[in-house]
């Protein structure tokens, strides 16, 4: 497959995941609203927001990093997605997954966060920096169980290659990691709660304390870009989880189904629990899920 072709299909898949991710976001808001007894925004509200924001004409900037922050953010989102194979066995929906393995993906997640943090930092608003400090702190914590579960997978499958991990799970749902290595999956799902930053781990965008969080100073097309990324990034993460733990997907329908339920898990938890303080959430991640993860690693390393 020529590079141009590959790029083309990568964009197609990107478009799909963006739309799907944004839709999921919309659904989440709706669900939260219903749980809280409100009517809630329409499901397509994220799309409206993006268009509206991009259309705004007044814009100010605090400097070059401020300007580049959203770019870093979305590049991180897209990049992460680009290194994940989307559909198993599909030559078109494999993106650039050949250029690296799961380690690359895990690290590329940081790319956007770091850039965003820098941009937010230059904004000069203390809320941004506070939120970033909380977010990074929490991130270090939830990465530990996540890494442990990935390591457990490596011990299990002997590969870092996502495609190979998916391949190993083919042949009936009983071969999914969910069933062959349930501890690792539990661990990973708990850490996903942190990754998605819904309650109880919503310390970054804690509305009562620091309205909006890192994007405090962002507006107009910057904000639009960030909102777009929220869709892409959510999609990318979901696809990654699906690949690693839930047998991957061979077509888009299964992909949508699986990712929807994976997402809904964190949403349901989020709707049911109050928020942790930062230190509590760090402690939480470093205790139960970490212990689970260690057990799962030990189970497969002997």
């Amino acid at each position: 497959m020529s590079i141009a072709f590959k790029v083309f299909w990568a964009f197609i898949s990107l478009g799909v995941v963006t739309v799907w991710g944004l839709t999921l976001n919309g659904m989440v808001h709706k669900i939260f609203a219903r749980v809280q007894g409100r009517l809630g925004p329409p499901v397509w509200q994220p799309f409206i927001d993006i268009i509206k924001n991009n259309a705004k004409r007044t814009a100010i900037t605090h400097g070059i990093m401020f300007y580049l922050g959203p770019v870093f953010r979305i590049a991180g989102g897209i990049g992460t997605y680009m290194f994940i194979p989307v559909l198993f066995g599909s030559a078109y929906f494999s993106n650039f997954s050949l250029s690296g393995d799961v380690l690359l993906v895990m690290y590329f997640i940081f790319f956007g966060q770091l850039g965003m943090a820098l941009g937010a930092g230059e904004g000069g608003h203390p809320y941004s920096a506070i939120a970033v400090s909380r977010g990074l702190a929490q991130m270090t914590a939830f990465e530990v169980p996540f890494a442990l579960s990935v390591i457990s997978l490596v011990a299990q499958y002997g590969t870092l290659n996502i495609t190979e991990i998916v391949a190993a799970q083919q042949g009936g749902f009983l071969r999914w990691t969910l069933f062959t290595n349930p501890l690792a999956v539990i661990t990973a799902m708990i850490s996903m709660l942190g990754m998605n930053m819904y309650n109880p781990f919503s310390v970054v965008i804690a509305p009562q304390e620091i309205p909006i969080g890192p994007p405090t100073e962002y507006h107009s097309s910057f904000l639009g870009m960030l909102a777009t990324n929220r869709g892409i990034f959510a999609g990318a993460k979901l696809v990654l989880f699906m690949n690693l733990f839930f047998g991957g997907a061979t077509n888009l329908l299964i992909l949508m189904l699986k990712t929807f339920w994976i997402y809904m898990f964190s949403v349901f938890v989020g709707a049911a629990y109050p928020r942790f303080r930062t230190e509590d959430s760090i402690r939480f991640f470093l205790t139960y899920p970490t212990i689970l993860g260690i057990i799962s690693v030990l189970l497969f390393s002997f």
Binding site: G63, S99, G100, D101, G124, E143, G158, T216, T278, S301
Partner: protein, 1048 residues
Amino acid sequence: MVNPMLLLAMFLITAFLIALLDKLHRKISIYTIYAVLLIASGMGFWQLNTLLYNPNLSVVVFSAGFSAPLSISLQFGVVEAVLVALLNLFGFLGASYLYRRFLQSGAQAIALYLLVLLGANGLVLTRDIFNSFVFLEILSIATYAIIAVDQNKNSLVAGIKYMLAGGISSTLFLIGIVLAYRYTGTLNIDTWLSLSPIKTPGYTVALFLMAIGVFIELKPFPANGWALDLYQSADKGVASLISSVNTAAILFLYYKLMPLFTPALLEILTGAGLISFVFGNLIALRQKNASRLLGYSSTAQTGLLVFSLGALSLLGLPQGMVLRIALGLFITNLFAKSGLFWLCGVTKRNNLQDWSVLRSDSGLLIIFGIFAVALMGFPPFPSFFAKWQIIQIFGASQAWMWMAGLLIGSLLEVVYLMRWLGFAAKGESQSTLEKPFSKLFPLMVSALGLASVSYYLTLMYPQIGTNSIYPIMAFILFGLIDILPVKLKGVLAIAALSLWGWFVLLPPLPLMGQLFALILVGGSIVQIFAFMRYQGAAEGFFPSLTMLIFALGNIVLASTKLQFFLAWELMTLAAYLLILKGKKARVAALLFIVFSSFGAYLMLAGFSMMPNTVEGYLIILQANFMAIDWLPALLLGVAFLIKMGAVGVHYWLPAAYSEADDETSSILSSVLSKAGVFGLLMVLILISRFVSSSSISMMALGWIGVFTAFFGALMAVFQEDAKKLLAYSSMSQLGYIVVGLSLMTHLGWVSALYLAVNHLFFKGLIFMAMAAVFLRTGTRNMYEMGGLIKKMPIAFISVLMGIIAVSGVPPLSGFGSKWFIYTSLLEQGRYLQTALVFFSSAIAFLYLYRLIHTVFLGQAKPNQKDVKEAPIWLIIPQGIFIMAIMAISVFPNIITKPLSLAVGDYIAKPEWLNWDGYNLVLNSPTLHGNWNGNLVMYVTMGVFIIPLIWLLLVNARTQKVKQFNIVFAAERPYKPWTTHFAYNMFAHYEKALGFLVKPRVTAFYKGVAEGFHSLSATLARIYTGNGQTYMLHIFLYTIFLYLLLGVK
């Protein structure tokens, strides 16, 4: 040959006639004794010269026309000649120091002084035991009397204590002589030696009394209270005389008697010498009074000499070798100790902290430094070689206790001398010194003499090799041209080092060596530019700096253990001097040198247990064919880990990195730590045949590395001081390297080396950029900065590149290092270590974000509104490093392939590791993975540029607002800079995980230091100051040794 009788006659005639000469004019008598001493010294040299060309010359002279057992014989052999030459030379120097005293005191003092020297010369020359007693008495009584040149209460009391102690010991000696005469029927040592051994208890008693009489005169701990008081209270010229001439002569007497002793007796006295060395140094630890400290040190050094002579003889070494080693120690002590006493007299400061007067006087400071450094046994001074040889011998003979004692004592010595040096170099003082020429002259001669003697002794060690000379030469040459402008010196240094590196260093090295040579020397050369930012001459940097870099090269180039250790010590010394240049670096430098010395001594011990290497064939090449046992490997490993700052022994690291000057910190962190990596790698190569990744030892090493990485990162998070943050960050990164090395696999080593190279680039880059920031803002506290991105964009870009590389975020080279580490760890099934490494590198984000945010982003401080970009000299190295990082990020193969080849010399590249174009493919049975740095770079650029273009399209005309304008959030703070979120940025993290980084290590080392200090204080309580108690000590000590001897 010179007739030694003439020597004695000359002294006597002069002494007797001096009163008459003095009647003519005071100066005549003074100059007469100068002449006499110089002639005597010349006679020594002449005799030495004669003997060198005519070694079979008879060197024994009899008196009264009868031969030996009947009459008294004098021997004027090589050793005697050396001693006569040196002692009289020091007599002369001491006399010139006492010039003013002599002018005041008159003929009697001059005659007494001369008689001290007569006693010393006689004691050295005579071969008759009773004659020794007579000369010993002449020496002692003359010394007692000359103490009175300073007739204050303290020196008089000390004199009485000294006389009583001396009286007791000479009585014991005399009784011993006569008792022994009863058994041997002779008083001549040579005749005595030819007798068959006598085995009755009575004879043993006689020997014991004789030995103890001399031994107590050597002031062993704890029977030496009198001597300490003397050193403290006497005129410094006299104290110097006692510690050098007097002690040397008695020591030689001890040496002459040694062959007579039974092995049991010699063993006990040797042990007592070692005790004296260790405890003398231990008590010196808490001394605040300079002369008393020197007293303790003198005790210790004498103990060391007694110990070395005894131990080496007990081990059955040839006397020539014993003497050569002892001479190395002796000469250093002679020059340095008397020099230090004279210096005490020049500064007239008793409290160590007041020695900061030397600060304003660089000449004296250099002299002081030479003495202190020589005394501690740093190269190139003779004591270094002596200690090296002793330890090698102990290692070969498996004399572990002796070795341990020697090393512990030496370490204690380093602590107090370096603390003292620190006070002198870094204290606060404005006062000036009165420096009469008569007092400066002996100091200068002594320092120069020490240096030149070192040169000649260095020549005696052919295995040193010519390369080892370069660092010292560089130090001297750059010391001489230190007044030139710094830019010129920088160019010269860069040129010299580059030429040397290219033509001398690189050609003989294998790939691995070249790699380290590039890291160590190349990395340093780049950073020399930063030193050129100073105005004027910026004295003091370049000698140490060039010495450091040459020594670093020599470490790689070493082919013998001695060369390696020599280069290592020179490197340590140079680094110490550089650190000491920092404004508040006194404590930090002390910590550095103490920990480094601890490491160096472990290394010394380790080397002693390692087989000898072939000269001229690089160690790193030989390592492949050699093997060492686990114990040397452990010792060497710990030594190198200390240099790398592994967790537990990292205590020195943050202090040294943060308090040194910024350029120095950069070199320390980015380059110097790699010397430790090199050493550790060497050790691992040496043991590669016995261990594998799954060995317990390597697992343990891996955990050490992981915990270093983890705790380093965690501690970095909580720092307010940017340099401390970077220091801990370095520690953390070195932890990854240790983990990689511990894997003992091809991939593991490649990952470690990749990280080493990378760390050089990004840490050098960040340090340079931060150096610029510190330079411009004048603070290192991050919360006192903010918003500097607009003022210092280049520094910001450097730091940005640096932190992306550190954090391992793709696409920059840092990700490569992370990828290598994880895959190599996972490949070996070290899953839990992988997890902790992952956690550490996640924590890295916290401190890196803190670094860049609080310094460059957020709200600018109003007092920093005029901050400018850094000078070009700091930007040049940054540029070089950025280019390097970009190059290996886009084309990772230009570094990974050579690394793999280099490692391949030691551990073959496995089949399953492939370089597929730019794609790195791993297909091991246990792990599959791949990484294509090139493609990732392009993809990343693509996904970055497309949104950027989009943003530029829709949002091209943004309105630039002032930094303080954060109105969009509907707020306008009254004082915006107070909203800069910087101080205690990760308070929540500290709440959650702070318990892990409670300063346990600090508490531990504080506890150790405290323990040593209170031990030292407790031991010092035995010196009650009461002369009678001191006598009691002597008796009890004698009895104790006697009981140890256990005569039946």
